[in-house]
Structure formats: C-alpha cells, structure tokens
Amino acid sequence: MIRIPLDNAGGPKMQDYHHDNQCTWCDGCGDYGIWTAAKRALVELNIAPHEVLLCYDVGCHGNMSDKLLGYRFHGLHGRVIPFAAGAALANRNVPVMAFGGDGASFSEGIGHLVHGLRSNYPMTFVLHNNANYGLTLGQASSLTWQGQPMNTSPNGIPERTLPSMDFVFSLEPTFVARGFSGNIDQLTEILKVAIKHRGFAFVDVLQACPTYNHFATHDYLLERCYDANKEGHDPSNFAAARKLATDSSERIATGILYQNENTPDYYEQLVARQNVKTQAVDEVEKKDVSAWMKKFV
C-alpha cells in the first residue's frame, strides 16, 4: 500500500505540522521515520497542531521538539512520562503523546515507565529504541547488547541486557505495539491506534542509529522485522503477544501486539471524577470553603 495523503479535505495537512527548522539528525537516523509517521498519524486522525500536546524526553529524539509544529514540551532526561501524564489528566480533550529514548526510559526514568504502565494513564508513549545513548555520543544503554563495545565501555558492558518487552508485559500493559523506523506506513497505522487507545499505549519503535549502533543496523532490522498482524496475530491474546514480543531470535514481530480496551484508564478510575463533565483546566475558580470551615468550629 502506498499512500501519499496529504491533502486531507478540510482537515489538517502534513504541511500544517511543518516547522522551518532543519532536522539535525545524522543521515540515516531512525528519528526521521518516526517524525514522519507521527505527523502523518496526527494528520490522518484529523488532529490539527493546536489540538495536540507532544512531549519529548532528552536525547536525539528530543531534537524533534522544534522540528514540527503542535503544542510541544521538551523536558528533563527520563521524566517525560509523568509530565505528560499530568498534562493528560488536566485536559482529556487534548491528546498527549510522549516520546523518549531507551536510555531515558529503561535507566534514568524506568520507574516512571513502570508506573505509567501500571497506572494506565490516558496517553501514548513512543519509545525511540536505538539501543544506545546517541546524543551523548554512543554509550551503552540497558538495552545495548551485552558485550558490545561502546563509548565508555570499550570492553563491552558486563551487565546483562534488560529484556525490555518481557519487562513491559510483566506489568500487564493495556497496549503494546512494535514498529520499525524504516516502515513509516506501518508505524503510522500503529500510532493512529495508539493515540485512540483507552489508556497507556506503549509503542516500541526499533530504529537505526547509523553512527553508534553497529549491531542492530537498519539492514539488520529490515531483514528481520515482519508484520505479525498480517500473519494473523490476534492482539487480544496476551500470552501469544508476550511470546511474539519477547522472542526476537529469528524474526522480529511488529504491529499491534496487544490491546485491551476493557480496562478503564487512570482518570476513569478516579471516584472523585465520576460524572464530572468538565476538565480540570476548566475548573480553576475561587472555591467557597465555608462548609469545610464549619467542621473546625
């Protein structure tokens, strides 16, 4: 399928997301593909730039923050998930996407990932997974293959590689997908479903880092990635999804691996917000506390 949409009758266009700033990523970087797919998914969902909040962690991917339009936030290393969650809870009418690298998400901010999955915040998280710290010039991350020589670890890292997908599945996620930066078409479709998902959508995007990742290269990924949904994988089957996600020894399954929309998201679980029609952003006003004061007399 080849789609070149781009004039969405009446709706937003790719051009609407265009920023004049030039991309600064290395030639062949996977970030170009993710950048394109993200814009395209938003356009195809009819979401205009002013209707979305895009939150970026710190790393090469974070340099996307000023290479497109939309309300954007570029924060601290490792902390993008709770920031995005706070934003998402304050106004459910604005879809919130957070982007973070494997360094930020599986080392510095791994606790936030755990609790993001567990809390099932109403947001999308896109993992820019290039299995190393690119922006700081190629150090090993916890997703770098063990023994792989890297900057600051010329002998290879002694630690075992963190089994990221097994880890994510152990937290009973409600949405797990895997994409490949070289397959923009498929990634666009994945992101569209992720943005619409009820709860925390975890999208692992395998991406090339041509400068520092000399093991899982673009060609390596291209050879191994296949669309599991096309091969009949049923995303409602948790056990099958986990197995597919964790076993990448021969081929790497991509697509929507798991989705469960029966679990309410974090906000929906809040007793205090049941039957509240407004958003927290609409509710900022002076509140009369006389009734509560009486209890203290």
């Binding site: 920023h19 700033n21 730039p49 002013h50 209707e51 979305v52 909040l53 939150c55 710190v58 340099n63 923050s65 000023d66 339009l69 939309g70 309300y71 954007r72 936030f73 570029h74 924060g75 601290l76 902390r79 709770p82 920031f83 995005a84 969650a85 706070g86 934003a87 998402a88 809870l89 304050a90 106004n91 009418n93 604005v94 606790g111 936030h112 755990v114 609790h115 906000y267 809040l270 007793v271 205090a272 917000r273 509240v276 958003q279 927290a280 952003v281 509710e283 900022v284 006003e285 002076k286 509140k287 009369d288 506390v289 006389s290 509560w292 004061m293 203290f296 007399v297």
Partner: protein
Amino acid sequence: MSRVSLKVTGAQGQGINSVGEMCAKGLKRAGYCVFGYREYMSLIKGGHSSYQLDVSNELIGSSETTVDVLVCFNHHGLEINLVGVKEGGVVLHQSPQWKFSPEQKKIIDQRKISVIEMPTEEMLTKLKAPPILGNVLITSVVWSLLGRDGEELKNLVKEQFGHKGEKLLAMNFSAIDTAIAWAKEKKISDCWKSELPAAEKRWKDHLLLTGSEAMGLGVIHAGCRLYAGYPMTPSSPLLTFIAAHQNETGMIVKQAEDEITAAQIMSGAMLMGTRAMTATSGGGFDLMTETVSLNAIIENPSVFVLAQRPGPATGLPTWTAQGDLLLATHSAHGEFPRLVLAASNTEDSFALMSDAFNYAEEFQIPVIILTDKHLAEGIFTEEAFDQKKTKLMRGKLVTSASELKKLKSTDRYDPKAKDGVSPRWLPGAKAATFCSQGDEHNADGSVDETAANAAAQMEKRQKKMEALARVLPEPEYTGPKNPDVLVVSWGSNRGVIADAMNQNSKIGYLHYTHLWPLKTKTLTDLASKAKKTVLVECNHQGQLGMLIKQECGLDFDHKILKYDGRPFFYDELVQKISSLTARR
C-alpha cells in the same frame, strides 16, 4: 497574659491525640484560645509522645516548657515529664502503685505538686466498656480538674460519635458520668492550685485547626484542581487532608511513585492550564529541584510546598526546623527567577496558597511555600478565613478566541516582553503553537545556542525577578516606632515571638513572609533606629540573617538560634530576649 498549659503523654497509639483533641475543642468551645503542640517519634506504636495544650483567654500562639497539668498514660510520662510540671501543678496518671524515686519525691514536695492516680482499669471493668473509652474517662477527669462542666463534654462527644449509634453514645455518657463522679468524690478540682482565666465568648466560633488543614483549605479555595504528592512527614498531613476531601472537591489527587513524579505531574498539569500543586519535605524537595529548574526555563507556573524538618538526610523526621530556607532560595541548577514564601500560622497558611498560585501565574515562575512541622501539625485557634478578599489572578493567560488568533508562535518567549513576562496560552487553544523548551530557546521555543540569544533569554527571565520584587510587600512590622530591640524572624516563630513581645513594650517585631526576592528597606530603616537587632531562627546558620547580610549588608547584634528539632518555647524565648535586653 494569663496562660495555663496541659500536657498529655503516652505511647503512640494509646489515644493521647484523642484526649488532646477533645480537650482542645472543648476548651475552645468554652471560650478559650488554644494552641496545641505535638511531639512524637518516627514510629507507629510505642515510643513516647505528647500532646500539649496552652490555653488563654487572649490570643496565644506558643507552648511553654513547663505545664500545669500532666496526664500520663503510662509510667514513661511519670519518669520523663515530671520535671516539667509547674509549682502547684497536677500529675494525673494510671500506673497502679507507682513509686517515685527520692529525687522525684523531692520535686513533688518542693513544687507542691498533686499526684492523682486514676483507677481507669477498674472503672472500665465496672462500666463493661472497651479500653478505648479510657480516653473519655481521662478527658472527663481532666475536665473536672479544670473546673469545667460535664455537659460541655457530653455535647462534644455527641457531636463526634452521635452518628455511630445510641448504644455507643450512651456508653460514652456513662463513662463521663462515672469519671466526673469519681473526680468529685476525690475532690480533684481542689488539687490544682491555679485556675483557668475567665472564658471569653469571642473564641467560641473560631476554628481550631492545624497549619496543614488551613493550607489544605487554602489550596481548595485557590482553585487548585490537581494535587500530586508522595508521603513524607511533615508534608503528609496536607496530602491526607486533600485526599480525604477529594470526593467533595472533585480534585484529581495522585499519590505518585516518588517526588520527582509528583513534581512532574504537577508541572504537566500546570502547563496544560489547570492549577496544580505538590508538597514534600527536604529530602523529597531535593529530588524535585531539577523540576523547579525546568519550570523556570519553560516559564511554567508551578507551586511547591516545602514542609521543613531537621536534616541532613532523614534527620529528625517528626520534629521541626527552619533549615531549608537557603535550599528553597538557592536549590536547582542554573540562574532563574523564583518566589519563596513562608507561612507562619493558620491565617497565612490559608491565604498564601491563593497568593502562591497568583504569583506563579502572573510571573510564570516556580513558587516555593515553606512551612515546617511546628506549623503543619500545630493546632491554632483561628478566626474563620476571610474569603472575600481572595482574587484569582492568572496573569497574561490568553483565552479569548480573538486574542488567541492574533498570537504568533514567537510571542511565547519574546525576549522583548515587558518585565520579561510573555503571553501564555494553553495546549488545545486555537492559536499558533510553540514549544515549552527545556533547552535554551528563542522566541517560539526553538533550540538556539547563539550567544546573543542565550543572553537575551537569560535577561528576559531575570527581568521577572525585578518586576516581582517591585510588587512584593515589605515585611510586616509590629511594635513601637523606635524599638529598643528589633526582632527579625520568619515562619512559625511568629506566634511565640508575638506572645513573648506581650511582656515587653519596647520590642518590635519584623516578620518576613516573602523571603526571595528579599525586601530590605523596612528592615534597614528600623535597624537604624533600634538599639539592638536580634535574629531569631530555628536553624544553626541563621539563614535569613545570611540572606539579609547578602542583600543589604546588615549584621545582627544578636542571634537566637535553635536547632534541636524543637520550636522556641514561650518561657525560653522570653528569657533569651530579656537576657539580651538586660545586657546593655
């Protein structure tokens, strides 16, 4: 000022808080101003803790080191607290056949202390009542001792437990009757050589609440709609209060996985455009500081409550201190504008919350509100809060469609903005978009590492500090025009200083609520007239003194500093100040 004090001691979990609370409420209702002070250890059951009430018919905001009435739930109180009983005082205990040491006997004789042993167990058996009612028995005896009427107590109990059924209420009433009859028989009311001052009606309708409760009401009142926190004494009571009221307020309350998360959730919610806040104590604030810095560069309004306790590290978790002033003013990397406020009592704990949000939104800066354990958990008698004067100020927040349409992306961080404060608009608003950029950025939030831009943006942000300093009030002064002694302090010392000043008309007190940026004009004017200047702080370095020295060069003649986890006590401070005034 005529004041009396009452201290209930025992192990944590034994019910001393319940006796303390009942007495406090009863006394306030009877027409007294009550100040409550709790000491306890960092554990759940056991240990040795106390609940002290200082009572007057005039305004009172401090505790004394010695008490008129000591109530001991167990023998530890008898061992530890007897030395703190005043002449003519009373010790009420329930440790059968307790034998005092010869030294203790000497104290009892010399000070003419009455010791009363209460047969609580026996009374409970007779009443066929559960042990929990021991608290009601003790309260009733204390009530008799103070010369108050049992009906007052019954009304209170009815109010508190009435909804739990007739049977329980009847049981409570018979406990009150039994204890009061016993007290009458033993002529308990004659044991205490002193008496309560005459009650005054003006206190009856006042609120009796802690600093945390006042702050919680202030948070709700200020239109805060999301609260994210992580438990840490002494900020936890605020989280508890907000959480307990969430179903009524509809507030989104998140107990986060750590303080970094709490700070980030608050920041995200603020960026989206609601009012949100977080609170923590020193160690938690250390973790939040990177987020403070982030909010400064993205010019995001943000509100942090820093409830102090003694450090370093875990320090004294359940005790008080003012050791984090410089943490609040100097924490986090980089140079940026911020506002630091300190609450001092329940009145400003309430009012400062609206102020904090207003300043945060008007200047698009992080605001840090300091409180401490003494204030957060101290019990104050307070007039109903004035809600009329509160105004919600949202600064340059653009919401109207026509105004939004005119905005350009580059308006968000235009370095030419007056006073450095740019228009701010929210995700979802139909307008040109921008990036809230944590890297140094130019006008639309694009990363820009050029020298000219870096300087322009730094200057833009720092201009806000100058504008803020222009609108902040000077510190508050009470006292004579030309004081002999000028006392300067901040935070929860205010109550004890006010009480101590009652003893000496030549003392003036300058109280700092707004600590950073620091205003020094009133201070230097007064200091030039005063014979002596005295700094009072609950820390070792005299941190406000350091800031003052830095800002205006003033050196204090004397510093009264305390750093043992305890607040200043009334008699202690009176003595310290008078020893200074005596030395000429």
